[in-house]
Symmetry: C2
């Protein structure tokens, strides 16, 4: 089997951790697999370098930031190669450029445009473990680029796709994807399997294991991801295309997002295009509006409500101020949270949403906003009820079984 | 003027130091010069990375060491570019590869094979300060290579040559080349000017300002070096081709090397080729033999004496043991030192050596070995007289005037 391993910052955070990762790779190699490893910078290194740059400038040039930040992954790749060689495993470290990772020219958030796997394949054929510095590539013009947050996951998935690998094992400090956050509901269970679409919903709702961008790419390339812990030998969670038996599962997980704020604009003039203008202005400021509710009022005005990430609330406030002549009043509420029920089974089963609403009612939790997709129901509620909602929904859908 | 600046590890050892270096560059740029800057890693960084690698292996693979160690200079180059941009100076950071520095394939001690200055020239034409990560290049096969100790000096000199720069200013924590070590002789004076050949002799004799490799390359390419301090505005020392007025100077400096050991083989069989065999065997083990003395004895045997760096004495001992049937006895003496008088004036003036010997005799210092070149007299003496010899020679040649 050809397997891509990816190790994040905490997994390679110390020399001892790198040694432990090397032992894990050596074992997989000795079992007869071909292995390509993608590594992040040692935890803390990237932030240290960002702090260095911020010492000089609040807005350092992105091109130079890429030259700066791409160094951390190279260090880890070289050290891991040295550690493996010492264990008698033939290994070679590669920069993004050497591994054939081409990107566009967008410094600090480049997109992978293509991967030329020739060099990696040639080293694999020599029986070597190939260790690639993640998070980085090279543009057409020969510039060093980086892929943004979660970029090493993206490198790993793209490489797995280019090499047609049997799996892409993504190692972190958690041992898989859970039905909900175990810190909130101790009965939360690790899932053996989750579909790309469910994982996408959970990731966008705040589950930290994988970022949406990597899951999207894996779905597009058909790469089977396994989310595992580098600190244990637990089995992990497989993220792949939904299978036949998957359809039996109604709901796979409950997510809680505490970092949302609600904006309610009252008495908005009911003239055509006003909502479009407001949301365009917000989008221009890169503010991510999530849920939107509009109610017509009896006096010919409407109430317009929406949620934004709490960190973007201040910017949203400024944008809305530009429209002050178009509405009567506005409320900003940070004491809310969003609880979501996710599951591919919703597509083909009715009553899933009804059960969520009933559960909330039974617990006297008022639902302020609702939004649904094919495989997700999200509800905005008072922040103080967030954890209670997660626990009761977890039980209602029998996720602890 | 087109000037290459090179800043060593202590000159860029902290963020504050990098800021101070940026201010110096900004000043030179605003005076109307074109500037290319070559930087080392922040002091301590390279040793930290070496320690990391040594944690895993006593003999880490050189290819991976190059991938590891080349990261430090990239960090400095990126940070310095950011600092300059913040000061309103247009600047661009470049890796060795981007600056067009091609080397052979010898990892960790590569030689520069060529420099393609096109990219640097194109950025200079845009009015930018070009900042190059020193110490590194790229091989024909696309591998990252490093140039070994003192490699950033070498990068700077080679770049100055390729760009036909007016000068290569090498900044460190000392403000130039002195007539002797000021810690030994407080009356030591900074030289305004020294020829390549004299600098070569001083460098090989232990003067720390510049390494022989860089001076050799500067001589070959005709690059004018200025050794300066990044901690002061002192003038520095120019290292260039000897000029007409230079000939007036008999002696330019006195050097002391305390890290030598003396080997004396007694009663060596006087058969043809025996000395050649011994020195070939030493060379095969990469032992640097410096001074050699051979005296024929009345009994048909000879005494063979030579010096080696103290750090290589143990290896020399093993080599000599292979010849045990060819000599009667051997002494190893580490309590020696080598004091040298250097000056291009010796070429055309007689009596320089005689004055050295007379000075030693006046102070009752016994000379154990002597070797001379066109511009140097070296004497091996008892280690305890080393500093006395330096001070009296410094006075005898009136170097404090």
């Amino acid at each position: 089997m050809l397997i891509v391993h990816k190790y994040g910052g905490t997994s390679v955070g110390t020399l001892e951790r790198i040694e432990s990762v090397a032992a894990r790779i050596a074992k997989a190699k000795r079992q007869g697999n071909d292995i390509v490893v993608v590594v992040s910078a040692m935890s803390g290194e990237t932030n240290k370098l960002i702090d260095y740059a911020m010492h000089f400038s609040k807005t350092p040039a992105k091109r130079e930031m890429d030259m700066l930040l791409s160094s951390g992954e190279r260090v880890t790749a070289a050290l891991l190669a040295i550690a493996l060689q010492e264990m008698g495993i033939d290994a070679i470290g590669m920069t993004g450029r050497q591994a054939g990772i081409k990107t566009d020219e967008h410094h600090t958030f480049a997109r992978i445009s293509s991967i030329d796997p020739t060099a990696m394949q040639s080293e694999l054929q020599k029986g070597r473990v190939v260790i690639v510095a993640g998070f980085q590539g090279i543009s057409e013009g020969g510039e060093v680029t980086t892929l943004g947050r979660g970029g090493s996951d993206l490198s790993a998935v793209a490489i797995a796709g280019a090499l047609n690998a049997d799996a892409c094992e993504i190692y972190s400090d958690v041992d898989g994807v859970y039905t909900t956050d175990p810190r909130i509901e101790p009965k939360a269970k690790k899932m053996d399997f989750i579909s790309y679409d469910e994982m996408l919903e959970l990731a966008s709702l705040g589950a930290k294991v994988l970022q949406s961008r990597s899951v999207e790419l894996a779905k597009k390339l058909g790469v089977k991801i396994v989310a595992k812990s580098s600190f244990s030998d637990a089995e992990g969670t497989i993220i792949a295309k939904e299978s036949e038996e998957m359809e039996e599962v109604l709901v796979s997980g409950i997510a809680l997002d505490q970092n949302q704020a609600r904006v309610t604009m009252r008495g908005v003039a009911d003239r055509p295009g006003i909502a479009a203008e407001i949301f365009t202005a917000l989008a221009d400021e890169q503010i991510n509006v999530d849920m939107i509710i509009q109610n017509a009022s009896s006096d010919g005005t409407t109430n317009l409500g929406f949620t934004v990430p709490a960190s973007e609330l201040e910017r949203a406030r400024k944008v809305i101020a530009q429209f002050e002549h178009d509405f009567k009043g506005v409320d900003f509420n940070q004491n809310i949270c969003k609880v979501s029920v996710v599951g591919v089974g919703m597509k083909s089963h009715s009553g899933v949403a009804a059960k969520a609403f009933t559960t909330m009612a039974k617990n006297n939790i008022n639902i302020e906003m609702i939004s649904t997709s094919e495989i997700k129901i999200s509800m905005v509620i008072d922040q103080k009820y967030g954890e209670l909602a997660v626990r009761t929904l977890h039980e209602a859908y029998e996720l602890d079984r």
